[in-house]
C-alpha cells in the first residue's frame, strides 16, 4: 500500500478554509478526533474511531472524503463506500450529508443502494457511480459479485464501516470482512475507517479493517473520551420484585410515573412479548392519556415508521421497544431510558443508555427495572460495570464456513479466480486469518459439486477449474441462484397477522380480509388454538385460525384477559462477564447492603437454609418435593448453556438408573428431577457429582444428543441456506419456511449418517458451540468447577431454588421428547374413547 509512517503534523490535520468556515457558520468547533481522522486519511492509513454516541462520529468518518472530493472537483467514479448494518441508517446518513454538501457547494454526489433501490437506478449506479455510495453488507456482497465489479471499484479510495462493533459479532460481519478483502484486492489504494461504540479491546476490532498480512501497518486507533457520566440507577419500587418471571408487573406504577415526569422516555425490553405486556399494562393505568407507543420488529413496517416519525416530531411521551431501536438513528429528544428486565450485558446497557440525550456533554439518565430477584443481582452487577466503564463485548469471531461458501460462489460470479491467490485473500480477513487450507479447499469443493466423498455430481458442477488453473462458473443460472440466496440473515419462519371480522354464513365461518398488523413467529402461532386470546400490536386479539399462511384474528371485547402462552426470558443470554460479577456478589454478604432489602433477605435465608457457593464453586442442591427428587445447580452461565447442560445431565442420570423425568433452565441455574432419590445416591457414594459434571460429557454424550436435537437441526438449516445447499426459494416458487424445515431435517439425517465430517456439518457444529447450544461456554464452566462442586443435601427446597423451580411449566420446549409425547397423545385419545 506504499504507506509512510506518520505523525499527525499540524499541516496534515488542517481543515481547508471552506470547511473551517462551514463549521464556524454553524457555531461548531471541529473536534480533535475529526482532525485526527483527517490526518490518518491523508497519510494513507486506515483508522478505528472509538467514541460514545453523540460525539459526531459519522461526520468524522466522512470528513476526509469530503475534503478530498472538494480538492478534486472533476473526479468521476466511486470514491467512498459507506456500509451500515441498517438500511434505515444508510438513508438517514444520506440525509445528514446533504447539509455540508449543499451548504459548502461541494461537487459531491451522494446516493444510497439498498434492497429498495429500483432496478433502473441500480443499473445507472453501475454505469455512472456517485462519489459516495451508502449501502449494507448484503448489497456489498452483490456488488462485488457483479461482472463490472472490477471497473466499478478500481478507483475506490475509502470505505467507512458504521456501527462496526455491532456488525462484527455475527455472520454478517464474516461476510462483510470477506467483502472488504475483495475491495482491497480490487482497489489496493483503499483505506478504511471503522466507527464503533466503546469496546473492550479496540486493537482486536481494528484488525478487522485491514488485511491480516505481515508487514502491513495496523490501523490508527482514535479514542474519544466518554462524556458526562450517566445518571443511572435501579428504579425503586414499592412492591418487592418476585422470585421469578419477566413481566416487571410489580414496578409498573413507578415506570408510569417516571414516564409522566419526563419529556420523552424510551422503555427498552428484551422480547416482543415483554413489549406487548408492558405496553398493555401502561395503557391500563394511563389516566393522564399520555402518548405511549409501541415499537418492535414484528410490527408492520408502516406502523413502525409512523411511530418513528411521531417520535422525531416530539409528539410522543414514551415508546416501549425492543432492540429494534438499539442501533444508530437519532430519534429525537429522549431524556430518559428505562430498561425493563436485566440488560444481560454491560455494553448493551451502555448502548441503550446512549439513546438518551444525544449530547456528549450532558449526562444521560436511565433506570433499570429488574423483573425478578436474580435480575436485581444482575442489574446491580451491570451498574457496577458501567460505573467502572468495564465492557463485555464478545470475543472476536472465527469466520463461519457456510458464509465462506457463499462468498466463494460470489467470487466466481464476478470472474475467474485462482484458488491459491484467493485463499491468501480470504486469510486477510480477520475472522478467517487462521483458516486451514483444508477447510478452504473443502468449501471450494462444496461450492463446486456439494463436496461429497461420493463424487457423483461432477457433471452438474456449479464451478469448474479450467486448464488455465482458474475456477469459473459453468452457467449463467449459477449467478442467478447466487443473487437470490445472498446474505446471512435466515429469518425464523414468520406468519402475517391479519385482523379480520369473521362472519357466520350458512353455518360456515367466513373470514373477511382486513388490516395486516404485523408478523409472528410460526412456532408461536402453532401454540395457539382457535379462541385463544393473545396480545399483539397493543391489542388483545382472538385467534381464529391459520388460513393460507396467515394468522387470522379478531378483536376481543374490552376487558378480555389475554392468554399469552409464554414470556420468554429474553433472546440474549447473560454475558459471562456479568455472570462472574453476580457470582462474586452472592459470595460477598458484606456487599449485600447495596441490594434492596427483600433481595438481601432472600440471600440471607439461602445462607441459613442451605449454603452460598464461594467464588469458583458450583453449588448443587438436592431435595425431595411432591413425590419427586430434585437436583438444582447454579452455574450462572446463561439459559442456552444451561439447556444444553440439562439435556446432557438427564442422559447421565438415566444411565445411572436414577430415572430422570425432565428439567428446566433459566439464565442462572437449572433443575432436573426424577423418581429416584438423587441426593441419597450422592451421599451413599453411588453417584459422584464430579463424574456427573465431568467435562467429558461434551464428547460422546453431546454427539449422541446432537444427532436428535431439534436445535441442531435448526442450526444446520441456517448453515445449509447460507451456504447455498438449500435455496431460499426456487425461481417462481416461494417455499414456506415449514416446507424448507422439513426437507433440511431429512437432509441432516442422511448426511449425518453417511458423511458425518461433511463441511456443512462442521459448520453447523461450530455454530452450535457458540450459538443456540453455547457448548463452548458450558465447557469452560465445567473445567472451571472441576473439583469444586459442593453438594447441599436438603429436606426441602431452598430459597435460591424457588426462582429456578418456578420456571417449571412455564417454558416452551422443542420436540425432543417426541416419543413420550406421542404416547401421551395416544393415551389421551384412549381415555376419551373409554368415557
Amino acid at each position: 500500500m506504499g504507506v509512510t509512517p506518520h505523525l499527525p503534523s499540524p499541516a496534515a490535520a488542517a481543515l481547508p478554509p471552506a470547511f473551517s468556515a462551514w463549521f464556524a457558520g454553524r457555531g461548531w468547533h471541529v473536534r480533535a478526533h475529526q482532525l485526527d481522522l483527517l490526518a490518518s486519511a491523508r497519510a494513507g492509513r486506515s483508522a478505528l474511531l472509538v467514541a460514545p454516541t453523540g460525539a459526531g462520529k459519522t461526520l468524522a468518518g466522512f470528513l476526509p472524503s469530503l475534503v478530498e472530493l472538494a480538492e478534486a472537483p472533476d473526479r468521476a467514479g466511486l470514491h467512498t463506500l459507506y456500509i451500515s448494518p441498517l438500511k434505515a441508517l444508510a438513508v438517514d446518513i444520506a440525509r445528514n450529508l446533504e447539509a455540508p454538501v449543499t451548504e459548502m457547494g461541494l461537487p459531491v454526489k451522494v446516493e444510497t443502494r439498498t434492497g429498495d433501490t429500483p432496478a433502473h437506478k441500480r443499473a445507472r449506479q453501475i454505469e455512472r457511480p456517485p462519489h459516495i455510495l451508502l449501502t449494507t453488507p448484503e448489497q456489498l456482497a452483490l456488488l462485488i459479485a457483479h461482472r463490472e465489479a472490477e471497473a466499478f471499484f478500481s478507483g475506490l479510495r475509502r470505505v467507512v464501516l458504521d456501527e462496526l462493533h455491532a456488525l462484527v459479532t455475527s455472520k454478517r460481519g464474516d461476510l462483510l470482512s470477506l467483502g472488504l478483502m475483495r475491495l482491497f484486492a480490487l482497489a489496493p489504494q483503499v483505506t478504511t475507517v471503522g466507527l464503533s461504540a466503546t469496546v473492550r479491546e479496540p486493537e482486536v476490532l481494528a484488525r478487522y479493517l485491514v488485511p491480516q498480512r505481515a508487514g502491513l501497518p495496523s490501523p490508527d486507533i482514535i479514542t474519544v473520551k466518554e462524556g458526562a457520566r450517566p445518571q443511572i440507577g435501579i428504579l425503586e419500587s414499592r412492591l418487592a420484585p418476585p422470585l421469578a418471571g419477566h413481566t416487571a408487573l410489580h414496578a409498573m406504577d413507578e415506570i408510569y410515573r417516571a414516564i409522566r415526569d419526563h419529556r420523552l422516555s424510551l422503555v427498552f425490553v428484551n422480547t416482543r412479548m415483554q413489549a406487548e405486556f408492558v405496553f398493555q399494562e401502561l395503557w391500563r393505568m394511563n389516566d393522564d392519556g399520555l402518548a405511549i407507543a409501541l415499537h418492535h420488529g414484528s410490527l408492520d413496517a408502516g406502523q413502525r415508521r409512523r411511530v418513528e416519525a411521531a417520535m422525531a416530531e416530539g409528539r410522543l411521551k414514551a415508546v416501549v421497544c425492543t432492540s429494534t431501536l438499539d442501533l444508530g438513528i437519532d430519534w429525537g429528544d429522549v431524556d430518559l431510558v428505562i430498561n425493563v428486565g436485566a440488560p444481560k450485558g454491560a455494553s448493551r446497557l451502555m448502548q441503550r443508555i446512549g439513546r438518551a440525550n444525544h449530547r456528549l456533554d450532558e449526562p444521560s439518565k436511565a433506570f433499570l427495572v429488574p423483573a425478578n430477584r436474580f435480575e436485581v443481582l444482575e442489574c446491580r452487577a451491570a451498574l457496577d460495570a458501567v460505573a467502572e466503564a468495564a465492557q463485555d463485548t464478545p470475543d472476536a469471531r472465527t469466520g463461519a464456513l457456510d458464509v465462506l461458501a457463499q462468498h466463494v460462489l460470489g467470487r466466481a460470479c464476478a470472474g475467474p479466480f485462482d484458488a491459491d491467490a484467493f485463499y491468501e485473500e480470504v486469510r486477510g480477513a480477520a475472522p478467517y486469518a487462521g483458516l486451514p487450507r483444508r477447510d478452504f479447499d473443502d468449501v471450494v469443493a462444496f461450492v463446486a459439486t456439494g463436496g461429497y466423498a461420493l463424487r457423483s455430481y461432477e457433471r452438474f458442477a456449479r464451478i469448474v477449474k479450467g486448464k488455465d488453473g482458474l475456477w469459473r462458473v459453468t452457467t449463467p443460472r449459477v449467478a442467478q441462484q447466487y443473487r437470490l440466496n445472498v446474505g446471512t440473515i435466515v429469518e425464523e419462519p414468520m406468519l402475517r397477522v391479519r385482523l379480520a371480522r369473521p362472519r357466520r354464513a350458512g353455518g360456515m365461518t367466513v373470514v373477511r380480509g382486513g388490516r395486516v398488523l404485523g408478523e409472528v413467529e410460526e412456532y408461536f402461532a402453532e401454540g395457539l388454538t382457535p379462541g385463544d386470546t393473545f396480545v399483539f400490536a397493543g391489542e388483545v386479539l382472538r385467534f381464529e385460525g391459520i388460513y393460507e399462511n396467515e394468522v387470522i384474528t379478531s378483536r376481543t371485547a374490552a376487558g378480555t384477559d389475554p392468554k399469552v402462552p409464554s414470556y420468554a426470558g429474553g433472546k440474549f443470554p447473560l454475558s459471562s462477564f456479568l455472570a462472574s460479577r453476580v457470582r462474586a456478589m452472592i459470595a460477598s454478604p458484606g456487599d449485600w447492603h447495596r441490594l434492596p432489602k427483600p433481595v438481601a433477605n432472600w440471600l440471607m435465608a439461602q445462607k441459613m437454609k442451605s449454603r452460598l457457593p464461594r467464588p469458583g464453586e458450583l453449588l448443587v442442591e438436592t431435595f425431595p418435593r411432591g413425590g419427586r427428587h430434585y437436583l438444582v445447580a447454579y452455574p450462572f452461565e446463561g439459559r442456552l448453556a444451561h439447556q444444553t447442560l440439562g439435556m446432557l445431565l438427564t442422559r447421565r442420570l438415566e444411565r445411572a438408573r436414577l430415572k430422570p423425568l425432565g428439567f428446566v433452565a433459566n439464565d442462572y441455574g437449572l433443575a432436573a428431577w426424577g423418581i429416584a432419590d438423587i441426593g441419597l445416591a450422592v451421599t451413599q457414594g453411588r453417584l459422584s457429582l464430579a463424574e456427573l459434571f465431568a467435562p467429558d460429557m461434551l464428547g460422546d454424550d453431546l454427539e449422541d444428543w446432537l444427532a436428535e436435537s431439534a436445535l441442531m437441526k435448526r442450526t444446520f438449516r441456517h448453515c445449509a441456506i447460507i451456504a447455498g445447499m438449500i435455496e431460499r426459494r426456487f425461481p417462481g416458487q416461494e417455499k414456506t419456511g415449514r416446507q424448507v424445515t422439513m426437507s433440511t431435517d431429512l437432509v441432516y439425517d442422511v448426511l449425518r449418517r453417511h458423511e458425518p465430517d461433511h463441511v456443512l456439518l462442521r459448520a453447523a457444529r461450530a455454530d452450535a458451540a457458540t450459538g443456540l447450544l453455547d457448548v463452548r461456554r458450558l465447557g469452560d464452566m465445567l473445567v472451571r468447577v472441576a473439583g469444586r462442586i459442593v453438594h447441599a443435601p436438603l429436606d426441602h427446597l431452598s430459597p435460591l431454588s424457588v426462582a429456578v423451580m418456578l420456571e417449571i411449566g412455564r417454558e416452551m420446549v422443542y420436540g425432543e421428547a417426541a416419543e413420550h409425547m406421542l404416547a401421551e397423545a395416544e393415551a389421551a385419545m384412549m381415555e376419551e374413547a373409554m368415557q
Binding site: 461429497y452 455430481y457 448426511l751 417426541a818
Partner: protein, 235 residues
Amino acid sequence: MNAMGGEAGTAGAAQVLRLGRLDLVADPAGALFVADEGLLVVADLHLEKASSFAGRGVFLPPYDTRATLAAVARLVARYAPRAVVALGDSFHDAGAHGRLDTRDSEALAALQRGRDWLWVTGNHDPQVPRAAGGESAAELRLADVVLRHEPADDGTAEIVGHMHPAAKVRLTGRSVRRRCFAAGARRIVMPALGALTGGLNLRDAAFRPLFPEGVTAHVLGQRLYAIGWPLLLPD
C-alpha cells in the same frame, strides 16, 4: 418442561390394521406386511431424488438411494417376504434408474434375489425400465383390496401411496411432525419411505375427500402411535 422420551420394550413393535378381508401388519418403519401372502409393501421410495436436484444445481447429499435401500433391506430381513411390492414413485424421474451407482444397483439386485418383485407404476415412474428387474404393473389385487399408486374412486378398498402423509401432533404446548399411515374405512394411504421424501400434512385439503368417514393417523416412531383427528394439527 423437558420430559424424557422413550417407551422401552416396544421398539419395532408392529400393529395390525384391517382393510377389507386383509389383515395388514403395519411396521413402524413405514411398510405393510401381508402375512398370509408373505408380501411386503413399501411406497414412494423416490430413488435418486438427490441426483435429480443436482441437475438444477442443488447438491443434496447423494446418499438418499443408499439410505432408502438400506431401510428396505432392514424390512426384508425382518419379514423375509416371498414378494415385495413397491407402490409407485419408486424412481424419482425417468432417468433415475440409469443414475444408480454400482453399489446401489447391486444392493437392489440383492434385495430382489430369491423373491418376486413388483414395481407398481406411479406418476414419477410411469414406465419402469426392464433393467430394474422384477415385474411392473399399474395395480395389484389381493382378496377384495386393490394396491395402486394413486387413490382412485371406484368403490373398492385400496392401499395407495402418492400422498406422503405426515401427522402433526401437539400436547401440552409441544408439537411433533412425523410420517404416518392414514387409515380409513376403505383406504390406507402409506407413508413415503424415501430418505429425502417430505410429508404432506394429513389435515391438508387434499386428504379430505379420501376419508369421508374419518381417518386415524398411525404415526411412525419407535412403535406406531394411533392418533385421531382431534389431536391432529395443520401446519
